[in-house]
């Protein structure tokens, strides 16, 4: 008899989701689905509001990376005003995004994912979390928490608060950087660098040791990768242009402008998930599957452009391939990106132009439509607004990083399920805890933020269901 395994809810991710494993009459796995079960509808209720509010409104979608929405909204606002923002504002926004990526990646690695690697997949789920890590390795946990604090503190130094600071505005930013803030950043940089060095050494030891199977089985498949690069092809997180690279290293498309996103991206809808399925339009659905985020950014760029990060990138490619196709490599990519962020922060805070008092250009509405882009920690984020002649929004489209990884997340779940659940599944089987955790960990590679991607809220518990061919749920495991 066919059945379905359901994991509901998925834990240690941002948002609400469940996983179902569909079995046929003989107990063989035929399909695996990652369902996003929350909905918020931000795009619709923004309509009618002034575009100047979008930075404030969309930053409220999420408390993890409000900065990404803030920057995408502010950049879209710049285009509606049709202004060039002051050079200091460009640099201050870049500093904000670098701090954001640092804190978010530190959260993903230390708080959410490392308990699996360091405490073990089969360890007690009640202790397999940041608190278990604190007990097992207090120094590492402390260093990880302080690395995240470093990023968060920069956000507060710039915007006045750690989350939801509406500091980036159409035309620039609200306030310049104070000298004391710059000095604080400089003083704390060495500790942050030491922590990421420690984390990289540790992670590389694990990759070369106990985590080799995970690298092969956690979402390792060819796909396209998309991300921003500079005009010279270097790693980029806020400006620049879009590039698609295939798993064989071919640059499929380059120099793409966000304004033209509709010509190369399209979104499919499935009835079983609130999360849409964006795909690369020229290849169609679902062949146009692409991945975004830290792994994609490292795959699309030629190099990063700062010495330590470039050394790490070289080593990353030696381990995972010139184009890394395993989703498990997202974790390593996050650590390499933190190195890139810390080097870029160090360069920025030494730049005298960063301290300029001229940080905002003033203008009234000059265009009726614009698209803004930023690289969120989880990948490329698009904001697309249409406004009437008074600046009131008539159409909003937000394309979120996690949504763009949706096809790849589903493929990852299927690959892990195929590797770890028995074939066929015996009747009346209990789902082993280790399988549940590995399926969740497959999703966690992407560090998904479902609150943003469905424009929905909350922390992310996981549910897994085993469903028979006739639709009966045979087994369920939940964590909330």
């Amino acid at each position: 008899m066919a059945r379905t395994i359901v994991i509901d809810p998925v834990t240690r991710i941002e948002g609400h989701a469940k996983i179902t494993l569909q079995l046929d009459d003989d107990g063989h796995l035929v399909d695996s689905r990652f369902h996003v079960v929350e909905y918020r509808g931000f795009e619709t209720f923004c309509e009618g509001r002034p575009f100047t509010e979008m930075a404030g409104i969309t930053a409220r979608i999420c408390g993890i990376c409000p900065v990404s929405h803030l920057l995408a909204a502010a950049k879209t606002g710049d285009k509606l005003l049709a202004v060039a923002i002051p050079p200091a504002a460009v640099k201050l926004r870049r500093l904000l995004n670098l701090a954001q990526i640092t804190q978010s990646h530190a959260l993903s690695f230390f708080h959410l994912s490392s308990p699996d690697f360091l405490l073990g997949w089969e360890s007690d789920p009640a202790r397999r979390n940041i608190f278990g890590l604190m007990a097992a390795d207090p120094e590492l946990a402390r260093a990880g928490i302080r690395l995240r604090q470093f990023g968060q503190q920069i956000l507060e130094l710039l915007g006045g608060r750690k989350i939801h600071a509406a500091w980036a505005v159409p035309g620039g930013v609200r306030s310049p950087l104070r000298a004391e803030a710059r000095d604080w950043i400089l003083a704390r940089l060495p500790e942050a660098q030491a922590t990421i060095r420690l984390a990289l050494e540790l992670h590389k030891r694990l990759l070369d040791g106990p985590l080799q199977q995970e690298q092969r089985l956690f979402g390792s498949f060819p796909s396209l990768f998309m991300g921003l690069v500079t005009p010279e092809g270097l790693w980029e997180h806020l400006d620049g242009q879009l590039r698609f690279r295939a798993s064989d290293g071919t640059i499929v498309a380059d120099g793409l402008r966000e304004d033209d996103y509709a010509s190369f991206l399209a979104e499919a809808v499935e009835p079983w998930s609130y999360l849409k399925f964006p795909y690369y339009r020229p290849l169609g659905y679902p062949d146009g599957m692409y991945r975004v985020g830290p792994l994609a950014r490292l795959n699309v760029c030629d190099r990063i452009g700062s010495p330590w990060a470039d050394r790490e990138l070289t080593e990353f490619r030696q381990r995972s391939g010139q184009v890394a196709i395993s989703s498990f490599a997202y974790h390593h990519a996050r650590l390499v990106e933190i190195v890139a962020c810390l080097e870029a922060i160090a360069t920025l805070v030494e730049d005298p132009e960063l301290m300029s008092a001229r940080v905002r250009s003033h203008a009234s509405l000059n265009r009726n439509e614009a698209v803004g882009v930023s690289e969120a920690p989880r990948g490329t984020l698009f904001h697309h607004y249409r406004v009437d002649d008074d600046g009131l929004l008539t159409k909003v489209n937000l394309i979120i990083a996690t949504g763009q990884n949706n096809l790849a997340m589903n493929r990852t779940v299927h690959q892990i399920a195929r590797a770890y659940i028995p074939d066929p599944v015996p009747a009346g089987v209990e789902i082993p805890e280790a399988l549940l955790n590995r399926l969740e960990a497959g999703i966690r590679c992407f560090d998904p933020c479902l609150s943003c991607s469905t424009h929905a809220a909350g922390q992310m518990p996981l549910a897994i269901s085993l469903v028979a061919a006739d639709g009966r749920v045979l087994a369920e495991r939940c964590r909330g």
Binding site: G48, R49, P50, T52, E53, A55, G56, I57, A59, R60, H164, A166, V169, P170, G171, R174, H362, S364, D390, G391, L392
Partner: protein, 238 residues
């Protein structure tokens, strides 16, 4: 100038004849919450937050719009008044769409301050979520009807200080709203001098400069009183 004496919350106070109860309360060193009242503008008693009890009367009086009389005994802070004030503030929040998180006036909003002052942490009344528009047709300013509490400060300052009388109140009950000109888009009203006084005195984020984003509004409600003193008393310093 003749003087009258009265008692406010047990304190004896003397004020010039013709003073309002609100002036007497303040002269006694006490305060009551207000939203529609503003120095420099004629009182209207619209918000009902300054209601006080008058000994010997069953009726509550709006302190801003009631003249003080000799020998009155006033109470400003009874349990009944506290309950009514909190209820009035809850109704303001329930009948409009007040979302502080991204409002231009977050942090400088008088409605927000009053909510804190009366101890409101939620509304006991169901939120109405009315469908209201934003008028962004003026080149410099916007009117967000979602945030309007109909205090009519804008109506009065434009009429009594600027002399342009752009604003009026239209409709009835829950349909009541501020209108510009003859219920036109603000940007189409020739009478508007774009002076910005209505924006200065608005207690919430309903009227704001177009460039303002979240929490960027810098209201100047004191300007109505300053202009009145300058005009009538030739006094140009605050």
């Amino acid at each position: 100038m003749s003087v009258i004496t009265l008692q406010v919350d047990g304190r004896d106070v003397a004020v010039p004849a013709g003073s309002t109860l609100l002036q007497a309360i303040r002269a006694a060193g006490l305060s009551v919450p207000t939203l529609c009242d503003l120095e420099g503008l004629e009182p209207v008693g619209a918000c009902r937050l300054c209601l006080v009890e008058l000994e010997g009367s069953q009726r509550l009086l709006p302190a801003c719009a009631s003249e003080a009389s000799e020998g009155q005994v006033i109470r400003t802070d009874t349990a009944q008044l506290q309950g009514y004030r909190r209820m009035a503030v809850e109704l303001f929040f329930a009948e409009g769409n007040h979302v502080c998180a991204f409002c231009v006036a977050n942090g400088t909003c008088e409605l927000q301050d009053v909510a804190v002052a009366v101890g409101m942490d939620h509304s006991r009344f169901p939120y109405q979520y009315p469908q209201r528009a934003v008028d962004a047709s003026h080149p410099r300013f916007s009117l967000d009807h979602n945030r309007c509490i109909l205090c009519t400060r804008c109506v009065r300052v434009c009429d009594q200080i600027e002399g342009a009388h752009v604003w009026d109140v239209a409709e009835r009950g829950s349909d009541c709203r501020i209108v510009a000109g003859l219920d036109q888009h603000w940007g189409e009203v020739d009478a508007c001098t774009s002076c910005g006084k209505c924006v200065d005195v608005c207690p919430t984020g309903a009227l704001y400069a177009k460039e303002d984003t979240t929490a960027e509004k810098h209201p100047h409600p004191e300007r109505a009183g300053q202009l009145r003193r300058a005009r009538e008393q030739r006094q140009w310093t605050p």
